[in-house]
């Protein structure tokens, strides 16, 4: 019994200490005057985490849009409401699926890569050697990757939603024969800029912050062995996914729950 209590206390202390370290890492990385060189590094990282994730985002967006149109059509057609397919696809993508699925895919594609890269840099003493060369690894390695994630993910989420809507068009209009005019015009009339689009963007910014933070911290804090890095990479994907899903509920409740 006592042993259990000791264990709980120990784990809690460890968790609090981890949060503390994560926070300090973020402060150390971000509380610095950006140098011109670091902006170049950030752009490079936007390419790595953003542009190189485009393929998976576009393909997933396309298929999710197509599946939603197919499912939506089979339900809506029973009520003769297949004209509302456009807003259904667009709203679910912009409000929910765009930010959430992008965040999940981003955690798997870019987050795990960030963790492994930084963890390996730590294991091969590259971070230490940066420090000994009087270059702060927080500013040189961590900060550009953080900003890159924060910039890239909301854009990826928008691209995901846009491609999804087109996918819905392919299935709904071109294949199942929903009227193209009603697909677009009812969508235009229903989707509100500030309520739907902006809220979706806010969501994806929050997710970008959390996922990138977890990915970078897990790498930076990894135990520098092959086992430690594999563990850190797994944790990045698991923790980011769970945090994204949990946060999504909270954000949805705040944004759409109370009218």
């Amino acid at each position: 019994m006592i042993q259990k209590i000791i264990e709980i206390g120990h784990n809690t202390l460890n968790m609090v200490a981890t949060f503390g370290r994560a926070f300090l890492m973020l402060v150390g990385a971000l509380c610095a005057v950006p140098k011109f060189k670091n902006i170049r590094l950030t752009i490079q990282q936007v390419y790595v985490v953003g542009v190189q994730s485009l393929l998976i985002i576009i393909v997933s967006g396309l298929f999710i849009g197509m599946v939603m149109a197919l499912q939506g059509y089979t339900i809506l057609v029973n009520y003769g409401a297949e004209g509302s397919l456009g807003p259904m696809v667009a709203l679910s993508l912009l409000r929910e699926l765009g930010p959430v699925v992008t965040a999940l895919l981003f955690a798997g594609r870019a987050g795990s890569a960030l963790t492994a890269e930084i963890g390996l840099m730590k294991a091969t003493e590259q971070l230490s050697s940066l420090e000994m060369m009087a270059v702060d690894p927080l500013r040189r390695v961590v900060a550009p990757r953080f900003w890159a994630g924060l910039i890239a993910m909301p854009m990826l989420a928008l691209i995901f939603s846009a491609v999804g809507i087109l996918g819905g068009h392919i299935v709904g209009v071109d294949w199942l024969g929903v009227d193209a005019g009603s697909y677009w015009s009812i969508m235009q009339a229903t989707v509100e800029w500030d309520k739907d689009v902006v809220n979706g963007i806010i969501k994806s910014i929050v997710f970008a912050f959390v996922v990138t933070w977890i990915a970078i911290f897990k790498g930076y804090d990894a135990i520098p062995t092959s086992e430690g890095i594999s563990q850190a990479t797994t944790q990045t994907v698991v923790y980011s996914s769970l945090t994204v899903l949990g946060l999504d509920f909270v954000l949805t409740a705040l944004m759409f729950g109370i009218n």
């Binding site: 091969t124 003493e125 230490s128 050697s129 420090e131 000994m132």
Partner: protein, 291 residues
Amino acid sequence: MQKVYLTLIIIGLGAINKTWKFILSKDNHQYLVEVKNLTFSRGTRTIYDDISLRIPQGKITAVMGPSGIGKTTLLRLIGGQLKPDSGDILFANQSIPNLPRKELYETRKKMSMLFQSGALFTDISVFDNVAFALREHTHLSESIIATLVHLKLEAVGLRGAAQLMPSELSGGMARRAALARAIALDPELIMYDEPFAGQDPISMGVLVKLIKALNEALNLTSIVVTHDVTEVLDIADYVYILANQKIIGEGSADQIKNSKSPLVQQFLQGNADGPVPFHFPANDLTKDLIG
């Protein structure tokens, strides 16, 4: 006549005294790094218990000891990556543990470290690795940087490998490339962390020669942390031997070789059993077997 002798002796003694004092006072300035009463522990495990050592300027100082006693930790403490529990570390009369972050980074430009793995940045070429610190800390033009990098690479014999990626280098070459990177900013102090570990005899010979040659040519101060006794005793001006959280022996290479301490002798000769036991502490074997 006796008076003259006496006067001469007094003058002679005075002169010796003055010279001695002069040597002593000069001696004080000749230490680039001074570790004073350092105590350091990791969790509950004590790594160093009140040790003091001094690294003379312009010389090669070897720090030897069995694996796992924290020789690398000592280098990290000198580099300011770790903070001691108590005691002080002076680098050029600046207290490293008490330096504010900004000054610590300034001071680090004067020191450099060769990591055991080389720690080359794997995503850029050998050339860019060597140019890294120059690009970070100086405003030199690319053409001057290129000249400097080629000179540094020439010094370690790798000018031809400038465009290779670190993954294309052999272990010995990687360490030499890292050495070129370490001397890029012309530091005052260079710390070698196990430079000979895992090297074939030829690369080992090359590294020994390089450490000696660079120390003389660039007027560096070198600290070599290692457990390769023969190689390092050939080039070291002064040797410290660490074991059991303490310094168990120090002196010039010859003094160390002739040391009476059984611990030092066990380490130098590589005896399996001695003051450092062969067996990890355990219960009595017969008792364990019979139960």
